[in-house]
Amino acid sequence: MDVYVAGVGEIPCRPAYGDLDFREMLYTAARKAYEDAGIHPSEIDGIVSSGMDFYEGISITDSYTPDQVGGRLKFNTLVSNDSLNAFIHGYMLLRTGHFRNLMVTCYAKPSNMLNYPEVVLNSFDPHVVRPLTPHPYVLAALDARAYLSRSGASPRDLSLVAVKNKKNALGNTSAAYAGATTPDDVENSAPVSEPLKRGHISTLCDYAAAVILTTDRRLGRFTVKGVGNAFGAYSSDLSSRMWGLLAWVRHAAQKALRMAGIGKVDFVEVSEPFAHTELMALEGLGIDGEPAHKTLRAGGYDLGGHLPVNPSGGCLGMGYPLNAAGLQRVVQSVKAMSRMGWRTCMILSSDGEVVDAGSAVVLTSEV
C-alpha cells in the first residue's frame, strides 16, 4: 500500500508572531493544506501532531491541537521529538489500512520562551549534568570541535554552509533569515562558543506546518517512498556520546533508501540547527563518496551543484523552529520538487539541537 502527500500548508517563518497564538498559526497552515490538497476537512480521518510540552509551556500540547486543524471528534495522537518522526507515524498509521487521509501538524513558538537555554536544561540528567548548567550551544560547540578534528574540515567550512543556506533562502518567501553574506561576514560574527560563531547558529523562529497524507492515489501528488528512524549510540550520560558524529543518519537513511529502492536522490533537505549539523548529516548519508567538506568547497551542494543541499535555505536561512524543523523540510521539499522539476529527495531531521537521533524520509514526485 503506497502513501502519498496530498497537500501541504505553512505559515511563513518569522522571528516572532506576537499577534497570533499557536492556534491561529496552526489554523492558517491547515487551511492552506486543505486548499492545496483540494479536500474538505471532513475527509480527514485523524491528526498526528508533533509537540514538545516544555517548549510550549503547556502540558499535553496535543490536546490543544485538533480543533484548529479540522480534527474535531477524530483520531488524534501526539508524537514526541522532531515532527519528521510524526510524519513517519502518520505514514505507518496509514499503512495499517485503518485510515485513508491523515493530517500531520506541528508548530513551534519559541518567541513565547523567555529563557530558552534554561528550559532546555530540563532535558538533561538531573544528577550529573544539570547542576553544571550547560548552554545547549556549548554542547553543540563540543560536537563541532569533535567533527572538525575528525573530518579534517576547517571552521571556515562551517561558514561556507551558512553562506550557502542564507543565499538559498533568498528565493524562499517562507524564510525569516535570508541574506547575501560572505564567509568573512560569518567569520567576523560574534564568537559564541569556539569554534562556533553567531553566524554558524540557526536563529529560532515561530512556524507552523500541516501536511496531508493519503492512501488514495487520486489525491496523491508525491509518494513517500521510504522512511527510517534511528536512535544514536549515546546514553543520557553526555560524556559517553560519540561526539562529532550523527550515528543515527546512516541507519535511518539506508533504511529509507532501501525501501525506496534507490541509491541516489536529486537533492537533500536536512534540518541544521548548526552549520556543522548539515555536514555531519551528509557524512552519515555517505551517498557522495567524498568527505562532505570537500564537496562543499567544490560547490557540489550549491543550487547548481550535483547534489543541492537545503535549496530552501535550511534552518540557517529560514529559522530553526525546534521540533517543527522536520515538517518544515517536508513542506520545502514538496515546494522545491514542484518548482524545480526535481524527482527525488532525501529529508533528514534530528530529534533536537544536539541529539544523536532522528528521522529520514525519501519523497518522489512520481505517483
Partner: protein, 219 residues
Amino acid sequence: MRVKPARYSERYLAQQPEDVRRAIIGLELDKEFGRVEGWASSLNRKYTDTDEWRAENLILTYWRIACRYSHAAGKAATRFLDGLRDGKILGTKCGRCQRVMIPPRLFCEWCFRDVDEWVEHSGEGAISTYSLSYIGTDPGVRLEKPIIVAVIWFDNTSKKSPSSQTVLHAAGLLHIVDGVKPENVSIGMRVRPVWRRDGERTGSILDIAYFTPVDGGVG
C-alpha cells in the same frame, strides 16, 4: 531518605541579568532547598496509596524548574482580554452554524471556517455544573471554607441536539461563584458577573471577581 541537594551555582547566578538574579534569589532557588529538615514533613506525608512514593524509597535530586514563558495571547484572546479590562464580555459568532464562542476564537472548528462577527454579552447565564472544592493544588492542603467552582453558560447561546436536547455547545466561562451559601448552589441557578472596579481591571480573567446569583443570593 537519601537527598542530593542541587542548586544554582554562584557562577551561573553571576551570569544572570540583575533582575533575573534577584528573582532566582527571591524564589530561594539559590538555596539548598533539598535539605531534609526543611522538607521532611511534606515529603513524609503519605500523598497516595502507593507506598513506592514514600520519601524513604526515593533518591531525590531537587531541581526547581524555572521555565519562563510569555504566551502570546493571539488576536482573539487579546481582544477578549482587552474587553474584560473595559468591563465587557466579547465573543465571536460563526455565521454558518450561528454559534457564539466565548472565550472567542477566530475560527469555527465545527464548520472549519473564519468567524463572521464580534458580539458582546452581559455575562448573565445559568450554572451548568459546579463543585464545592475543599482542596488546594498543593497536595494535602485542605480549605476550611469551600471554593465554589462552576461552569456558567450564558443566556441564549446554547445549541442543543434536536432529539435529546443535549447541549452541544454554549458560550460561557469556568469561574468562581461567590455571594451565596455553598449548600444553596444548584445546577440551573441564574448568575451574573461581579466586576472589579474601574481602574482595578487589568485585562485578565480575574477582572471578573466572581459570579453571583442574579436574585442577590442568600448571603
